[in-house]
Symmetry: C2
């Protein structure tokens, strides 16, 4: 660290702590009275401008929350490419344990305050998904799909990739005309409508975000699909009745670790021993809570499970896991698109909310992109079937065949039962 005479002893002490914590990362830190560089020997990847000593001290005491909040408030600025800076930071921290007692306390406190019981879920979901739809329209695709897309190649557009994802989900579920589907956590309804329109199924789609349900119902009416797609404003725990297939894209992250058995029971009540299911979720390679700052400011109550934890839902009901696919790189690509669109719309976001909100969401999107890029976050699609499911795919080849749906489906064969 360059010793800058104009820094006070306290500044020097705090700065040294911060630079130590970021390991060998090549950064320049600017305080209002001088500049210091980490001793990595490489040219700095970015300059972090820390405007006041409270922000600097916060980085020592509770680094994640303080960085997130100070960045949002403009008391910390990153001069240079935010994604490159975060990527370098994540890679330096990837094996570091969070040793801050204050961060640990914050994590436990958030866990207690954001439990996903029925009321807690409603509050947690409201916080994120009931932000006005106009906000999400600024940076999502035209179908408003707020989950990982599927890019047949990295160059296809986001719009195409979201349609491709929905079709991929339908094919993995082998949906057939006349079948019934339950969707848990349906967002603005794009997948439910896609399934009904393109695969001829009837869908009951559940969501506790009022704003999203209202939007989805209007779309169903406008597209003449209200007779086959019912949007229900209710908790997944209240799903009842039998269906052929169960699908949930991007909801498990919000169910909460302590409710996986409930969720498993809900799925089992829906598809019994003969149905199929698909769960699409953000996960981890090993158990680790979600960023405390993201839980505090963006996604209250969220938790990305490992495959082992997700399997806890399925084992008690003897479901067979048929297929697990990791689409991590597709989520990084999806977030690249979202972030690019978001950054173009940031002035409108700031006008719609305020600049603190606009900066917080920029950090959240950039941080999520980096999480998927470096692999601290994973994206799993898991297909399963009840133990007496009468038809199972013989191979997965038909998922990748360029042929009409009918032929494609004929490649599915009746299970040898």
């Amino acid at each position: 660290m360059l010793t800058v005479p104009s820094f006070s002893f306290v500044d020097r002490y705090l700065l040294q702590k911060v630079l130590d914590a970021t390991g060998q990362m090549p950064i320049r830190v600017k305080l209002d009275n001088g500049t210091a560089e980490s001793p990595s020997g490489c040219s700095p990847i970015a300059t972090v401008h820390i405007h006041d000593r409270r922000a600097l001290a916060g980085l020592v005491v509770n680094p994640e929350i303080s960085f997130g909040d100070s960045y949002s408030e403009g008391r910390i600025e990153v001069e240079g490419n935010l994604v490159d800076f975060l990527e370098s930071l994540y890679r330096s921290l990837i094996n570091a344990e969070v040793n801050s007692w204050s961060a640990h306390l914050a994590s436990v406190w958030l866990k207690l305050m954001q439990m996903n019981g029925r009321r807690g879920s409603r509050r947690n979901i409201h916080h994120h998904y009931d932000l006005t739809t106009e906000f999400y329209k600024l940076w999502l695709d035209s179908e408003l799909v707020y989950t990982c897309a599927y890019f047949s190649s990295p160059t296809v557009s986001l719009e195409q990739a979201q349609l491709a994802k929905m079709d991929y989900v339908c094919r993995k579920l082998d949906l057939r005309p006349g079948e019934t589907v339950v969707e848990a956590g349906c967002g603005w309804g794009a997948l439910a409508l896609y399934m009904a329109k393109n695969y001829g199924v009837s869908v009951k789609a559940f969501n506790i975000s009022h704003e999203q349900i209202v939007y989805a119902r209007r779309r169903a009416r406008e597209e003449g699909l209200s007779d086959r797609v019912e949007f229900i404003e209710d908790d997944y725990r209240n799903i009842s009745g039998h269906c052929d297939a169960f699908v949930s894209v991007g909801m498990l992250e919000h169910v909460g670790r302590e409710h996986y058995k409930d969720f498993g029971r809900v799925i089992h009540n829906a598809i019994g021993a003969t149905g199929r299911g698909l769960i699409h979720f953000i996960g981890r390679n090993h158990k680790y809570p979600l960023s405390v700052w993201v839980r505090k400011r963006i996604f209250p109550g969220a938790y990305p499970p490992t495959l082992r934890e997700a399997a806890e839902m399925l084992e008690p009901h003897d479901f067979s896991v048929l297929d697990v696919e990791n689409l991590r790189l597709h989520y990084a690509k999806t977030l690249e698109h979202w972030l690019e669109r978001y950054e173009k719309s940031q002035p409108e976001v700031a006008a719609m909310f305020d600049s603190r909100f606009a900066r917080a969401w920029r950090l959240y999107l950039a941080g999520s992109l980096v999480g998927f890029k470096v692999g601290t976050l994973q994206l799993f699609q898991m297909v399963f079937a009840g133990p007496q499911c009468p038809r199972l795919p013989w191979t997965r080849a038909s998922l990748y065949a360029d042929q009409p749906q009918k032929e494609r489906r004929s490649q599915w064969t009746h299970a040898m039962s």
Copy 2:
């Protein structure tokens, strides 16, 4: 149950117990002094001829082991199709808990006696895999692949399907010329030789079956591959050195539940944070030990894990699960082929060993076929990569593309790192 006057009170009592335990299964039971039918109302699926009261009493006390042993000894015979009979039996029993204290004791006893430490593994593997190779040649494919094949369609031959399986494994691992591979549990060496010959890699292949290693080494010499395939007669726990890819097909079942962490460490030592791996194993939808009779007579120390249990190997090392595929129906098909060939060779098997052995193996093959058919057994192929693996597949489409290997491989892309 038909009351047959010639049955004694004890016979009637025991028979009633046996028929009660098989639920609603339509069978006819023949004792030497009469015949009884289960009261299912359907025509019987088979006639079970029980030649003596000891066999009958055994079915009540310890049904699984007694049925297996008495069948092997010819004291119980099944008149009718053995596979159909077993399928009906498995389906009747599928939700029944084993309540026999004697079976439970036997299960615990076997677990203790067949532990998979270094010495125990050698003894357990010797019991099964060191039966003469001539025996396995009677009913396996010409490459002597003793694991689940991959049938691109149900009608392809076993020989084709075993080659297809080996190629599928190579493609899932994205092997490239010059890379190094470690194989744990290599059987008679077919996969190791296939990888070296068709994908240009160097292989170190481990096995503790002496008979198999001797055979594999001879094949390597005959095919001029000894410079690129080294067959090592040693325990997987002694694998050392670094490689690009780790593969294990059909060995995890023999590692034993208590050694998964050791196995995970072995894999981690081999591929570190940058390599890829594939584990192919017989598994379960939920925790349940392997048949006590199969453990006693056929596969000492074997245990088919659930996906959750298998994931325990991977989580501590931050491996990313990339792909899980369930090939259960392919194992049922593989076993259909094996059983058909086996039944044709049964007289030779009886001459090579004795009729008790020949009948025991027929029951084991038929029972395994039925396990995969009804779903009490699953077959998982799990692909994973270290957290810093420099290349990951963008999609799985190339696994199913009909194109030359080179082009296929170019569809793999460098991870966004």
